[in-house]
């Protein structure tokens, strides 16, 4: 991250059936959003293991987004999103111990037809993370 304006890297875990499809729709509708997000596809937001999120921060991610289907009944596997919500809320409290601001971890519900919502979430997340500055682990050479 050279001295020019800080560009955060965000890792996004998107569930295949809703949020990933929403991101695709943003593409198909040519809705432009900042290129800071890197997406990893999982079959269900319930698959996102807290280890993945910690690994991301350990490797220098400035923000992590977990995105799934709308509660209560959109999940293709019935209840994966509930599990994801539970894990993320729990992890936010733990993150403080590692010196990582919980605001770096986001969880959002995005349906397959909400292309512009996905774009808006990414843009806002980039704005917020820019305020927070780079990942503290990186600053203190935590890699």
């Amino acid at each position: 991250m050279s001295e020019k304006e800080f560009e955060p890297i965000i890792v996004g875990f998107l569930c295949n059936w809703c949020s990933y499809a929403g991101a695709d729709l943003a593409g198909v509708s040519r809705i432009q959003y900042p290129p800071n997000i890197r997406v990893i596809r999982v079959m269900c937001s319930g698959r996102v293991d807290p280890i993945f999120i910690l690994e991301a921060f350990k490797n220098g991610a400035d923000g992590v987004l977990v995105a799934g289907c709308h509660l209560p009944a959109d999940c293709h596997y019935l209840a994966g999103n509930f599990k994801a919500l539970r894990r993320v809320l729990l992890l936010k409290r733990v993150l403080k111990e590692f010196g990582i601001e919980p605001e770096r971890l986001w969880i959002e519900w995005i349906s397959a037809s909400e292309g512009d919502k996905f774009a808006k979430v990414v843009s806002e997340m980039v704005k917020e993370i820019k305020k927070l500055g780079p990942n503290p682990l990186k600053r203190s050479g935590g890699k």
Binding site: C18, G27, C44, G80, G115
Partner: protein, 1001 residues
């Protein structure tokens, strides 16, 4: 009678046509799916959300579109129409006119460059004229086939698109061509046409911009619609404060010859009101002007209640006389009458809930296929054989048979598939292509040798991402032995190239960087498998929809991001393992629980296709509820139908009937069930592949209105028996609707009580015309063609009186007379009458033993105790668990013809499994590493599909995955404390390696 043809023609590619085509194709028949428009999807593709679940219509329809588009047995014939049909059932010759498309489907990759630069614009019918499209267009983004078509009226032939098309797909010299298909059966599913309300000039449609039709409002609500999903007024683009919904526009309107009710308008009006409130950041008031709210379907009443209570939608029972526009504000002043008081109210916007008309060229299609239409122009059917048309071998389903909602259309579609299978069952598997794949190479021991194929997608990727630079970069990644880029990776010739490169460079992993895996992963997996490589050794990087298309103005950043995404895909590819697709053999036998009309119909349909059926009936004789139904609203004789059905069941050798029997235990999974039947005291063990639940339902034993206290207070069922037995001689009869329904205890509507009450009232007027008949109702829900009989009852002097929950009627025993007190809303006073008979329209309630059956089969129930199907809209007769199906009253209250349709549907759905000797299941399932598993059962609790069971081996308890039931969601993988259970293809190591690689930029 000539040899039969193992193929079926489905006319109409809407949700019904697609469902019928998928069932037939999955059961081993070739299907020609013909659609008049350039791509399939029908009206449902235009909807934003669907009631009652508020699912996004496209999200649930798209997977079906892709499945139909890619199915080897389904041949799509789009932009075409039927010219003529000759021949007899089993061997039809159909003349098809395929209209010129001017684009070569093989070559067009749907990249859309031509449409973006076409100088000529045209009205976008998909958006109902609210937006414009180019002269060369595809109906909507997710269209299948995603092949563009030229609108010959608007196109001036300037030649720009041919120049731009890198795939060379534009063929201006294209001409209509007539072909002939030989098929065994024909299913008509051309859907319906929306009523054009211009005829009702009092509503001012097309004169006042803010008066829109419901289908236009769907487009306004939709995120892909003209206004991006925010509700705006067409007059000034402002968000409306007050919207009025006017029901029954073009329906229940004898003035223009549409007496019938269009069945779905009440519900979609409520849904549109709810969604409108969600899609608007400001306060929005929605008012629905209605005559009767016909929320008769499953969970509809609850949806209606939530609309009133939770969303505050105002319902006004009044007909809107006229609409005038205030020119200055373009607001609309509605004039209507409530309790005889004329009112005027101003609204920002008015949505006309337009009814369904027969499809545009119904007459032409009918003549071409040789079938009769009914008085309204829909397809003529018989209530007891709702799927057959007037011509044998030609079946009908969906709205063309009569206005209906999506679940009924889908059910009828599967039913029609079953009927068609019945005719061509002998030809099953004859005309289908079963692929033979080369011997799979064992790559387990080998060093990863990864091939990376990067796509230009014309200029969609190449225009913004520096593809050559990214290709060079890919070559530097560890284990990558080959990398190349090409114009269209998904094109036929590139698929051949990939196969050659796999063999030439002995690749054991393939990564394709192009568009979204959701649409193209199956295509590339197929190619990898054809090259002799296990199809799971393949990974995709989405550098189009999630990179080039969304970072058009930052080519440098997009190129860097593409590199990161490819590095991440390569990292995962390195860790990929070959996965076996679990094979399950299928016992071609079905178990049908319940011997009512549904159970018997399902059994007969399956038997007709040659499958063995075990039919278990609790009672001593077959027939269930139908035994006590003596006449129908439409006049046919149900008892005569029942008699024929029963002896057909008994006559049929494939069907083993167990009377007075009960299924006590069921184990195993799809294709391999083992059940124990308690029959005449001893247990009989049977093995079978599928289960159909047709346990029916019972009439509610009313506790209200002094039922049981006085013999003159009877239920509609008892009244029907009394009339049938000729014991009826009452002077005045009073019927009370919604007894035991639409209340806290049973919030749902029982759907059929209104039509039963009208049936009995008409019967009474028939046999003793001078008898006075009063019907006290909340909403008369004689939906669809039943509306005609409601008019007849009114004409015959039956008195309908509306009562509110707040002022329910009162039945009092007054000496030896019965006194009925009720509030007359028009006269606004209490009225007393002394009826000789009080008939209670008792609700349909679930069988008490549903719970026991549910637990036995491990299938869910709804809150009210009926069985819960897999998906209310698109999988009404399937259970979430594979192999178990549902039909009839067990699913919920419904009329006899709807039960029959569902029964056929269940048979067809079952046939998709029974028709296969071996079932290939999805390979992405979880697997347990026994020595790591501590037996803590967390995974078992977490799995929503009951696919994990605990097994004991040498005294150690550990989890075991039932591969047939595992859907591969992976939730168990992240819950397991010791990471013993690994969701294959998405293992923890693979995803961690992706995270590391993606951040190593």
């Amino acid at each position: 009678m000539g040899s039969k043809v193992g193929a079926v023609l489905v006319v109409g590619g809407g949700v019904a046509g697609i469902q019928a085509a998928l069932d037939l194709a999955d059961s081993g028949f070739r299907v020609y799916l013909l659609d008049e428009s350039p791509s399939i999807g029908g009206t449902m593709a235009q909807l934003d959300k669907t009631f009652p679940t508020n699912d996004c219509a496209m999200c649930i329809l798209a997977p079906k579109l892709v499945a139909a588009g890619r199915h080897p047995n389904i041949h799509l014939i789009t932009h075409a129409e039927v010219e003529g049909v000759e021949g007899e059932p089993g061997n039809f010759r159909v003349k098809i006119r395929r209209r010129a498309r001017y684009v070569n489907p093989e070559k067009c990759t749907g990249c859309g460059v031509c449409a973006r630069e076409c100088p000529v614009e045209a009205i976008d019918e998909y958006d109902e004229g609210l937006s414009k499209r180019s002269a060369i267009y595809v109906k909507y983004v997710q269209a299948v086939p995603r092949t563009y078509v030229i609108d010959r009226e608007r196109c001036i032939g300037c030649g720009t698109c041919k120049e731009l098309c890198r795939a060379g797909a534009i063929t201006y010299e294209d001409k209509d061509d007539i072909t002939e298909l030989s098929v065994g059966a024909i299913i008509l599913a051309p859907g319906f046409e929306e009523f054009n309300p211009v005829v009702k000039s009092e509503y001012g449609y097309k004169r006042y911009p803010n008066v829109v039709t419901s289908i236009e409002f769907e487009r306004i609500l939709s995120a892909s619609g003209p206004y991006g999903g925010i509700v705006l007024r067409p007059s000034d683009g402002r968000i409306p404060r007050k919207i009025a919904f006017i029901q029954c526009v073009g329906s229940r309107d004898s003035q223009i010859g549409n007496e019938y009710c269009s069945a779905a308008c009440c519900m979609y009006a409520i849904k549109e009101a709810i969604i409108a409130k969600e899609h608007v950041p400001t306060k929005l008031e929605c008012t629905i002007f209605y005559m009767d709210i016909r929320a008769y379907g499953k969970d509809f009443e609850k949806y209606y209640k939530r609309a009133m209570e939770e969303y505050g939608i105002r319902f006004v029972r009044a007909r809107v006389a006229s609409i005038n526009e205030d020119p200055s504000t373009r607001n609309l002043i509605l004039r209507y009458i409530v309790d005889e008081k004329p009112c005027e109210e101003e609204f920002d916007m008015v949505v006309l809930s337009i009814g369904m008309r027969p499809p545009k060229n119904a007459k032409k299609l009918a003549d071409a296929v040789g079938i009769k239409l009914n008085e309204y122009g829909f397809c003529l059917t018989n209530p007891l054989s709702p799927i057959e048309t007037s011509r044998p071998g030609v079946f009908v389903c969906g709205a063309f048979a009569g206005p209906k909602d999506i679940p009924e259309s889908v059910a009828q579609a599967s039913g029609a598939a079953a009927k068609a299978m019945g005719i061509v069952a002998s030809e099953r598997g004859k005309l289908v292509t079963s692929k033979v794949y080369p011997q799979e190479r064992d790559v387990l021991g080998e060093e990863p040798r990864i091939g990376v194929f990067i796509c230009h997608c014309g200029i969609n990727i190449g225009g913004y991402v520096n593809v050559p630079e990214v290709t060079e970069y890919a070559k530097t990644l560890p284990n990558v032995v080959y990398a190349e880029h090409n114009l269209y990776t998904c094109s036929e010739d590139t698929q051949k190239r990939i196969k050659e490169k796999i063999i030439e460079y002995k690749l054991n992993r393939v990564v394709v960087a192009s568009c979204t895996p959701r649409t193209h992963e199956p295509l590339f997996r197929e190619t990898v498998r054809e090259a002799g490589l296990n199809e799971y050794l393949f990974e995709m990087a989405n550098i189009r929809d999630q990179c080039s298309w969304v970072h058009m103005h930052e080519p440098k950043a997009a190129t860097e991001k593409a590199k990161d995404l490819i590095r991440s895909a390569v990292a995962k590819a390195r860790m990929l393992r070959p996965l076996k697709k679990p094979m399950v053999n299928v016992i071609p036998v079905a178990l049908v629980i319940g011997g009512g009309v549904s159970g018997m119909t399902a059994a007969v349909e399956l038997a007709r296709q040659g499958f063995e059926v075990h039919l278990v009936e609790r009672e001593k004789e077959l027939g269930g509820n139908l035994r006590r139904i003596y006449y129908l609203l439409e006049g046919e004789d149900p008892q005569e139908y029942l008699k024929n059905l029963i002896n057909e069941v008994n006559k049929c050798s494939n069907i083993h009937v167990y009377l007075g029997a009960e299924v006590v235990e069921v184990s195993g999974f799809v294709g391999n069930f083992k059940s124990k039947i308690l029959h005449g005291g001893e247990i009989k063990e049977i093995e079978h592949g599928v289960i159909i639940v047709a346990t029916g339902a019972t009439e509610y034993k009313p506790k209200e209105y002094l039922y049981g206290v006085d013999p003159r207070i009877i239920t509609q069922r008892e009244l029907e028996e009394m009339v049938y037995k000729g014991l009826f001689n009452a002077k005045t009869v009073a019927m009370i609707q919604c007894v035991g329904a639409r209340n806290e205890e049973n919030p749902n509507c029982s759907r059929i009580c209104c039509s039963e009450a009208i049936k009995n009232a008409l019967k009474i007027k028939e046999i003793s015309p001078e008898t006075e008949v009063y019907i006290l109702y909340k909403d008369i829900r004689s939906y669809g063609f039943k509306e005609k009989y409601y008019h007849e009852a009114l004409k015959k002097g039956v008195v309908f009186i509306n009562y509110e929950d707040s002022r329910k009627p009162l039945v009092v025993k007054d000496g030896d007379r019965l006194r009925l007190v009720f509030w007359e809303p028009v006269l606004k006073q209490e009225i007393e009458i002394y009826p000789d008979l009080v008939v209670l329209s008792a609700a349909v309630v679930p069988n008490p033993d549903n719970r026991k059956v549910a637990e036995m089969l491990k299938v869910p129930l709804t809150k009210d105790g009926f069985f819960l199907e897999a998906h209310m809209k698109l999988r009404p007769v399937d259970f979430q668990t594979d192999g178990i199906f549902l039909c009839g009253l067990a699913h919920g209250p419904k009329s006899i013809d709807e039960s029959i349709s569902q029964a056929c549907a269940a048979a067809s759905r079952a046939a998709t499994i029974l028709s296969k000797s071996v079932l290939e299941l999805e390979g992405i399932v979880a697997s347990v590493d026994e020595d790591l598993c501590g037996g803590c059962r967390i995974c078992e609790a977490v799995c929503p599909f009951g696919a994990i069971e605990m097994v004991e081996k040498e005294g150690k308890i550990s989890a075991h995955v039932i591969e047939a039931l595992c859907k591969g969601c992976g939730t168990c993988g992240s819950a397991c404390p010791t990471k013993a259970i690994k969701p294959q293809h998405f293992t923890t190591e693979q995803i961690l390696s992706q995270v590391k690689a993606i951040l190593a930029g």
